[in-house]
Symmetry: C2
Subunit: 202 residues, 2 copies
């Protein structure tokens, strides 16, 4: 089990996309850090695919030898952190709609609950959120009307906003996820949380 994250720290930004297993691992640690330090970390929804495209980086899923390694590596980290983790057998989950939904959930003030549930659905319950029916059921379980919610998410203005946030993140120097920003410094990877905490204590 990972050591506890209790420190005197300032809040920081956490850039995420549901599709990344390492980002799920970071999200779990972030939740512990929030609870143990009574702070709120700023969740920053962006599109991993957009960042990689801008940076000219191939996704792990498109590099078979690396993708295979990643599954084992994620399991080791989950074990170290002492959390439930199941590599989603429908990977990659196309998260474009889900990330757009986060912006709607932000506006309606239930973003954190929405984020927690979607992350768990993919990386704990192993659900196939590429299947529209399964996605609709998940939304219904959150007391969301799937039809109107997804229509709002698909509005051009909302699409543009997510695109802009992703572009802004790239301009800050972000090229992968999870990424953390604290004191204007960038840290990439759940395996850099130790450095993030050190910086957040300054």
């Amino acid at each position: 089990m990972q050591k506890n994250w209790v420190f005197m720290i300032k809040p920081f930004e956490f850039y995420f996309d549901f599709g990344s297993p390492y980002t799920f691992l970071a999200h779990n640690e972030i939740r512990k850090i929030e609870k143990e330090n009574s702070i709120k970390i700023k969740y920053m929804p962006v599109l991993l695919g957009g960042l990689l495209k801008s940076a000219g980086i191939k996704a792990n899923v498109d590099i078979p030898i690396k993708g295979k390694y990643m599954i084992k590596d994620c399991k080791l980290w989950a074990e170290k952190y002492g959390i439930t983790f199941k590599f989603n057998s429908y990977f990659p989950i196309i998260t474009l709609d889900l990330m757009r939904c986060v912006l709607i959930a932000e506006r309606k003030d239930f973003a954190q609950n929405f984020i927690n549930k979607v992350f768990d659905a993919i990386w704990k319950d192993g659900l196939n959120l590429n299947d529209t029916l399964i996605l609709q059921k998940l939304l219904q379980n959150l007391d969301i009307n799937p039809k109107t919610f997804l229509v709002e998410a698909a509005a051009q203005k909302n699409k543009d906003e997510l695109k802009k946030r992703t572009e802004d993140a790239f301009k800050k120097g972000i090229f992968g996820l999870p990424t953390f920003i604290v004191n204007n410094k960038i840290f990439w990877g759940q395996d850099r949380l130790e450095f993030v905490i050190n910086e957040a204590k300054k």
Copy 2:
């Protein structure tokens, strides 16, 4: 300063190429682990460029936004490990000849000393080993006759052997450096040494 690496552990394989700063960081920790546990880790020379090419992965040096981040990240790790580290301003150093030299040094039984000196020349002293004169001087300081040594290294048989070792590493599932193998399990990155040690204790 990094915690000490004193455990009851079995030797493992360490795949390296001088050109990778993260591999230099790993090499330094490996030397500590060897000393503190009275074991010899098996140094496995391979070509990072060849591995990346086989895997279809772009080198960090070809991804400006990632390359920029890497420099800061390496410095944080060097600080954590408590070691002297200088990001080589002539990066990337073309290590093809140097890695071929390792095989000759192996046959002549001075591989470890050669490896230590070349790693330090690049990542502690910041030397430009792309410059033939500087390389020759380094070899002379090691009591090596640069001319005959480099001719031996450039022999077709030696070139083929390094190529074969790199291909064999790729076949084992290695796609980046540093990589460690213990109990037939692969661990990629100096930041996975903790997992390597855990496995080596089994």
